[in-house]
Amino acid sequence: MSAIVKVEDLTRIFDVSKPWLNRVIERSPRALLTAVSEVSFEIEENSVYALVGESGSGKSTIGKIMVGLVPPSRGRVEVDGVDLATETDRAKVDAVRADIQMIFQDPYASLNPRWTVRDIINEPVSIKGGDTKGLAERLLEQVGLSAVDAGKYPHEFSGGQRQRICIARALAAGPRIIVCDEPTSALDVSVQSQVLNLMSDLREELGLTYLFISHDLTVVHHMADKIGVLYLGGLVEEAPRDRLFDAPKHPYTQMLFDAAPRMDAFGREVDPPKGEIPDAINPPPGCPFHPRCPIAVDRCREERPRLRPIGETRVACHLAE
């Protein structure tokens, strides 16, 4: 097995300061928000790598950097050995861009309402002057819709059908990797299962690789081969699926698993987690999780733990073993 995507030391800092004049008048300092902090991981070909984490943990930002929608502040993403941010050979960059596509959470917002489904699906190919004859029709059938749908407009479709259209569009350029950012969060459960099954089928048929972004642990458990857990922009734990769910090593992962509601846990009394995610502009020193961590010691308040391997797991916690 070889890695098709390599993410190394990826960092993205957003300047969220007030406008310059306000800063001068109010004497407020520059505010920098570290959305993604020194994240490294690899995705193997034809596997599903999931990123989980709560709101603001940096999942979407990593996805957007991977497809080139947001530039990194530091670090790099290599796809098939090509670094999008520094590669100067246009042909290589174009090839990689076509190799990696993205599906977004909101199937309503991501389709242009005035275009036919055919135009929407064909666009990634037609802007490059490629041949689109019969393309949309074929892809629609591949995602479980019908070729006659190509002439319709997005409003004629339900949420689940729209997400299928988004998937068809992502497939148009013949990608090898798809970044899926919460692809089923806006869908009802009965429709979510249709989309998840479709994604699994396409992975097998086309040999696709997925970066699967989600905050839903049961969906991640269902889909992923390997999982990275993010907290405040940093990877706190990474492990193959069963390893992570059977033996979570980071106190945050453990807290997340305990807190997640379970359909088979009738009347369960949880001891709910303490506190909330801190402000990303002023993250706590040391381990970012220490203010909420039940086992934190002095060292945690001072020194930021690095990711270190323990068996098949990588974990960023001083006390994990």
Binding site: V191, A260, R262
Partner: protein, 328 residues
């Protein structure tokens, strides 16, 4: 049997439109007793919010109750209007919505909002009201309540705001709380805090709670009974464990089997074909029949039966009697 805190009887809500009259709530009946949490689940557009809003008299025009009854501790309230409705709503019923900002006034401090509500509904002095407000914030887990009482809603995080809304919903000591997707916008860890809080308050204060959510996990952990809605009607109603592990209505069974469960690994998910119909295009007979693998000609011709057809559990001509795939 004691009188239920809330009793909804054959409730019908209609919306007149240019294309005809829609029925977002159709013949819905259920009870909620003191200290009980009734979970309400169903797909988007099934009529969950519309049912909750009809109960608290907050239907947006042109939607209106055309028949049926809403009884609060045995008293009919569905016909109340204006000032009497408003008074009753604040005193006897509390509301918690998905977006806490819809329930909070951005221009008033949370202390002002709480004391105002308390003074309006309880016979207390200004300073007693203030003390009660602090106690209410303390109860829902706002740290340093006495100091935070002068803060404005925007100074709180989403989870903290939802706690304030819960304090506001409970400060006049209502008998019934309607919580419509109270944790949907929140993170898992905060959701767990809010659900634990709701359960504790329900148990300690004997409040009856209608908890609307699309999260089966939340229902399993919090609700005593669950009502499953489909296209405006109750498809199934029963004790939570029974409905989840032993669904009788084919829609409920499909819903359970299509939900990923961590303990079942990479098993292929069951799919329910198609999507819920729109109200202006309801199929004949049982609205679920085009998606149902048990449908017979009768299902196309006759509207689904009342819940009584299947021990008061499921509105289906051919309910399941075997155990479904999902198990605890």
């Amino acid at each position: 049997m004691t009188t239920p805190v809330l009793s909804v009887r054959d409730l019908v809500v209609e919306i007149p439109t240019r294309r005809g009259v829609l029925r977002p709530v159709d013949q819905v009946s259920y009870d909620i007793h003191a200290g009980e949490i009734l979970g309400v689940v169903g797909e988007s557009g099934a009529g969950k919010s519309m049912t909750g809003n009809a109960v608290i008299g907050l239907l947006d025009r042109p939607a209106r109750i055309v028949s049926g009854e809403v009884l609060l501790s045995g008293e009919p309230v569905h016909a109340l209007k204006g000032e009497r409705l408003r008074k009753l709503r604040g005193k006897k019923m509390g509301m918690i919505f998905q977006d806490p900002l819809t329930s909070l006034n951005p221009l008033l401090t949370i202390g002002e909002q709480l004391t105002e509500t308390i003074l309006e509904h309880l016979d207390v002095t200004q300073s007693e009201a203030r003390e009660r407000a602090i106690a209410a914030l303390d109860e829902v887990g706002i740290p340093a309540a006495r100091q935070r009482i002068g803060s404005y809603p925007h100074e709180f995080s989403g989870g903290m705001r939802q706690r304030v809304v819960i304090a506001l919903a409970l400060c006049a000591e209502p008998d019934l709380v309607i919580a419509d997707e109270p944790t949907t916008a929140l993170d898992v860890s905060v959701q767990a805090q809010i659900v634990a809080l709701l359960k504790r308050l329900c148990r300690e204060k004997g409040v009856a709670v209608m908890l609307v959510t699309h999260d089966m996990g939340v229902i399993a952990e919090a609700a005593d009974r669950v009502a499953v809605m489909y296209a405006g009607r109750l498809a199934e109603l029963g004790p939570v464990r029974e409905v989840i592990t032993n669904a009788r209505h084919p829609y409920t069974a499909g819903l359970m089997a299509s939900t990923p469960v961590a303990s079942q690994g990479h098993r292929r998910l069951r799919q329910i074909p198609g999507a819920m119909p729109r109200l202006d295009n309801l199929p004949s007979g049982c609205a679920f029949h085009p998606r149902c693998d048990r449908a017979e000609p009768r299902c196309r011709e006759e509207p689904g039966p009342s819940l009584e057809a299947c021990d008061g559990r499921a509105a289906c001509w051919f309910p399941l009697t075997e155990k479904t795939e999902v198990s605890a």
